[in-house]
């Protein structure tokens, strides 16, 4: 886990989430889903508060939070590139795409770039098997994906403003908590991977905006 936030997290966005469900343990998975959607990960302070409010032991919250793959205890990138590893995609070469992305970003699938801009992950099947191999860049499906198509999709979305269109109001309210104190501030890392591509707009500016 990365360093603890230096400033306390703003827990305000948690209230509307808790208000949606009955305050008992049967709501736990749903609450965690919404927390993950709001913060893009499950911050420790939020989990502690969830445990208190749903009257379940912290151990149980972690028991559940660590079981499901959708939940992350570490901050996720502002952008997500998901490679489908379903069988249909596998036989059509999804593994080579993962290797391409790993090479390109200099990290392993599942990791987030040090500047917090991009997470590359794999998923077991997104059910778009007829289009395989499929890569999802910030919610956009790239069908019959090739290394080139994926690069283009990533460059298109990462060149633009950091905020994702599907982000809820919660995220912008809690924007200060998103990156504060963690290693998510926009650094001088150019573009989203290595080697630096002079064609791609730099991260400065739009990256800072996100972490205001």
């Amino acid at each position: 886990m990365s360093a603890l936030p230096a400033t306390p997290l703003d827990l305000a966005p948690l209230e509307p989430i808790l208000a949606r469900y009955p305050a008992d343990r049967r709501s736990l998975v749903m609450v965690l889903q919404d927390v993950q959607a709001a913060w893009h990960y499950l911050p420790r302070e939020v989990l502690n508060r969830v445990a208190e409010r749903l009257a379940v032991p912290r151990s149980h919250v972690y028991h559940v939070a660590t079981f499901y793959k959708h939940f992350s205890l570490t901050p996720r990138g502002a952008h997500t590139c998901t490679v489908c590893m379903g069988t249909a995609c596998h036989v059509r070469g999804a593994g080579l795409l993962v290797e391409h992305l790993e090479r390109r970003t200099g990290m392993k699938a599942g990791d987030t770039t040090p500047d917090g801009r991009l997470t590359v992950e794999t998923v077991n099947c997104v059910g778009a098997c007829a289009l395989g191999p499929v890569v999802i860049v910030d919610g956009q499906y790239v069908g019959s994906a090739t290394a080139r198509k994926v690069d283009r999709a990533l460059e298109a979305c990462m060149g633009h403003a950091e905020r994702k269109p599907e982000d809820s109001g919660i995220t912008s309210n809690g924007g200060d908590s998103l990156g504060a104190g963690t290693d998510r501030q926009a650094s001088s890392v150019v573009a989203w991977g290595r080697p630096p591509d002079p064609q791609t707009p730099t991260a400065s500016g739009d990256g800072k905006e996100d972490t205001e």
Partner: protein, 635 residues
Amino acid sequence: MSERIASLAALEAWRTRLVAAHDPKRKAIAVCAGTGCKAYGSDQLTAAFRKAVAERGLDVDVRATGCHGFCERGPLVVIYPSMIFYQEVGRKNLAKDVAEILDQTVAAAPGAEQIVARLQYKTPDGTPVVHEHEVPFYKHQNRLILSFNGKIDPDSLADYVANGGYRALAKALGTLTPEQVLAEVDASGLRGRGGAGFPTGRKWRFCREAVAPLVNGVPTRYVVCNADEGDPGAFMDRSVLEGNPHGVLEGLLLGAYAIGAREGYVYVRNEYPLAVQRLTKAIADARAAGLLGADLLGTGFAFDVHVTRGAGAFVCGEETALIGSVEGNRGQPRFRPPYPAVSGLWGCPTTINNVETWVNVPLIVDRGAAWFAGIGTRGSKGTKIFSLVGKVNHTGLVEVPMGATLRHIVEQIGGGIQGGRAFKAVQTGGPSGGCLPEPMLDLEVDFDTLTAAGSMMGSGGMIVMDDRTCMVDVARYFIDFLIQESCGKCTPCRDGLIQMGHLLHAVVEGRATRATLDRLEALAPVVRDASLCALGQTAPNPVLSTLKYFRHEYLAHIDHRQCPAGVCKALITYRVNARCTGCTVCAVQCPEKVIAGEKKGLHVIAEDRCTRCGVCHSVCTFGAVDILPGRGGKE
């Protein structure tokens, strides 16, 4: 319709009005809005059609429908009422495609339509096809469940009702007792579509006859729709939920009426956002119309449905794990019995069926058990949707009667293997299933024949493999998948699979001996027999079936250190052949910079430093990079 429907008669009256208002000769443009077509931009296409229709002042209905199934050729467009079929519309030139379809096909009088030739489907021998039902992919299917998908707007309750929706519910509430509904489903011979094929009627009866504990003074039972479609390579449940959410709700309503439940849950995978969105809308519309909630349709029957999203755990497709997840716990299976039918959600009797099972129920109640039992084989009734994917020409969703042969599905509907290559295997049943070779293609597919052949129906994934697919690699892929997805509760599955993984990695990496296979074959039955739930019990199937039918491939890896399919990196060599034009693309793209060659000269890969990443092979447009089995390029 926004007001509540107060009675059964009011529902029928509304339906009559809807049908009367519908002019069957009115032109309509149906644009597929399934996930596949959306990926190819069908939302923009629908918007462009709407705008252009308005500009031209045409009286044409433009509707976004559920998945048509022929995902590979998306976006798909069908022009009603003539059923003219267009494929790949708007992929290259959206404005031009829309304008030509409107001006040449839609604006013309029926019978006088001109066809936009470049958007037509053409058979492999080049013959253009005009109508949807003539396209071989559709011609050889029997679409009962999927028939709604191309026709109705999944966001429209009125569309569903106009096409006979909620008629089965009205019939049941008006004229049948719960026992009669149950008897009808029982007599139909419907078996669970989630994979195991357990008779649905029997499952319902266990639940109905189990003692229901009192919750707030009311005897409580639950119905649950399992939409945690985790099998990689299968997406039929997704398509049904996205294309016909009311059909699933109607099935749940009928099941709840039959077993005496007042509440239901739909457990949907987190990876299916569109399905969640459409289902949530359908539930809200049904509530507003009085088709869900208290005293529905004025009959006194009460039922409501909640949507629960999964959080990314394959094992939650197992029914006891799913229950744990809905209850807010880890999704870990528990011992059965007691079965969920007796003690399920919060200890109450619970009927859990898969999406496709539920959506069959309204058809059975509406048309009768005898009609349904007339389709299919002796032991398996009705139709089955398969997701036909992999290295086949026509990928997509295929609905055929039980008992159709694999050959019919792969060759006639699927149009054979991509690029004219050789068929090697078809994998059915996901990670629980097996790989069947060419001689098994004449197998009549139903629950029992597939199990007898060492595979499984599973939820209906059908992944076609050609001679460039390595069967050892496929087995390794499934075991790696299951290692990740094992919940870790029982030792045979948790540790047994890891050991099987080590052994398979040894084979694909060229470190294995024949003793490796002996160990695999000794370990597999232990995992199968001693695991707690179906995940572990069926996990060895991909290994055992490939060992049975493709042992020679394992031996090639072990004895000759070669991967005949050219997949396993440790056992292949990339080499440039004489077709090289010296375009330099591979040398530029090579991440290791180990390709040498002059412009317009033959390039050479330094095989000792090559990491076999495959970039050169994928970027070469001249087919000049060969993948040879074995290291050192021995043929």
